[in-house]
Amino acid sequence: MIDKSILLDDKKFTVGIFDDSDKLLHAVGTLKKKGVKIFDCYTPFPVHHLDKALGYERTNITIGAFLCGMLGSLTGFTLAYSMNVVDWPMIIGGKPQDISVFTSFIPVIFELTILFTAFGMVILFFARSRMIHGIKEDLLSRRQTDDHMVIAIDNAESQDLSNSEIQSLLTSEGAIEVDGARESFNTSLTDEENLVQKLMTQ
């Protein structure tokens, strides 16, 4: 099994769990305003403006898409040209066998551009977000993949506010559950196994 390196086992987090994306968004804004450094947010669906609120920059993956598309175009052209002109020239419809039949290459170029862009984007996206096949995600709350949203603040990071102040802030922002020192658990194990493992390490 591959460990995901974003959440490490020995890290402790202050978490606020929300059941409303608007409250979560507002809470993130308030925490940021107070100078609290947020580790990450975990939501079961994309929350609009959350990336802006967390101060994330826009992804550059679109440039990758363009390059993949260019690669596809080039491949398509090379493929069609090398086959129809260089390797095995065939007379089709009385057309010449040189670059002047570029029109007939266009469908090939088009299709391969799409194919390369689509596959390239999937591969790039999974690579960039480290979603490798077979990975078992570390969760902070079991329902973060269902209907709850989590704000995670790394306890190791130095903050302007004390831990209890952050917790009360989260509560006042409408968190349904607040925890001062939560560890992640692995989804490959059941709740009981996680508990047993935790008790055994203590």
């Binding site: 993130v28 403006h49 609120a53 363009f66």
Partner: protein, 473 residues
Amino acid sequence: MGHHIIKEVSQEKFVFTGRAKMVAIGLFLIGAILAGVGAMDVKNNWDSIGQHATEDVHTEEAAEAHEDAGHNDHHATLADANPHAEDGHTETAHGEEAHGDHHAPTWMNRVWANLLMNSYYFWLFSVAAIFFIAVNYVANAGWAVMLKRVMEAQSAYLLIGSILLVGIILGAKDTLYHWVQYFHSAAAGDESAAGYDAILESKAWLLNNTSIFFFIPFVLIVWILIRMKLRRNSVAEDENKGLSMFKNSTRWSAGFIFFFAFSFSALSWLIIMSIDAHWYSTMFSVYNFAISFVTGLSVMMVIVQYLKAKGYMEMVSDEVVHDLGKFMFAFCIFWGYIFLSQWLLIWYTNLPEETVYFAARLEGGYKTLFAVNIFMCFLAPFLVLMMRNAKRSPKVLLTAAAVILIGHWVDTYLLIMPGTVGDKAGIGMLEIGTTMAFAGIFIYVVLNSLSKANMYPINHPYVLESANHDVGP
């Protein structure tokens, strides 16, 4: 958070200043004078145009060679094996020497063709605008509601544009449409006559006076009435809240789109495709629609940027403009797709009666414009507007819109000129002057209409959705 939610749209009204009026009228006058001088110039130098250049000698040879090559196939379909007139060289490959009384293009051909081209080009903007309004109603789209009055103003040109278009078609039909000339000739309807043309005879059910005198005006009147209804609803909505106007407009829009799909196709056949009456393409009406929509969106973009530069439309966020830019981008690709669909099949099949259309456009002076057309209408906007930042920068958007508009001006030129003027066509004072004059009329009508109503349809149910529109990351 930084995301401010707009709960109320503050109303404003566009003022059509005297200076803007002067610019529009000035543009019209200068354009008209230029066109007049250009027309006289063309008239006086008519015999020397297209004769001295060495390139045109090749054109004639190529056209002749093409005619010979296509001769057997093409004329085999004619009922009458009439030897074609030998004076048919001044026009490029058309096969129109098939009928007896052949008209060589005169300088009036160029003037009429030029008027037809420009009236059609500007008319397409207003057609696209009314279609866009209707589509937004039918699709229940909210993002563009803040721009609705711009679209309405743009569609205001439909009335005067249609009058100009119909007037020019009626004036030009004897000069430009060789099927009109054919049906006036003695050979029409007489199978034993020398110039009998079976292809044109088979199209007589569509290409006749009823279509020109009644069908085109009928379609245009229906469009204008629906446009008036939508505009009245929109203005009345400012006064009374509620969904009644919205629902009524949606119904009219649905009807309009249904009618539009058929009638626009028929108009594009009658007005443009019948210039090359022997030729036909099933993609042609879609091609014309693609030109219409992408130019209409580009004009809309220019108007929005103009208004923003003048300090209006502060409420219209970058997000809405971004989506309009996306629409431009998408329909550049759409045009490229339709162009390819038409070209690819004709190129592959290589049937003489179909290739005449492109043969005329790939020889002589048109070859450069053909390449320029593809570059400006598809390649350049495709590569530039692909970037997100480009769609959020007014300068890049304006440049792209200008490139698209000039590109499609060339596109319309290529639709009309080869079939009407042949190798005597050119872009000179006449063409540029006429375009300026039409642009003057268009600007005056649009800005005048814009100043007649409030800037935002404030009681439209989706106005806040549009004001708060967000395209996402």
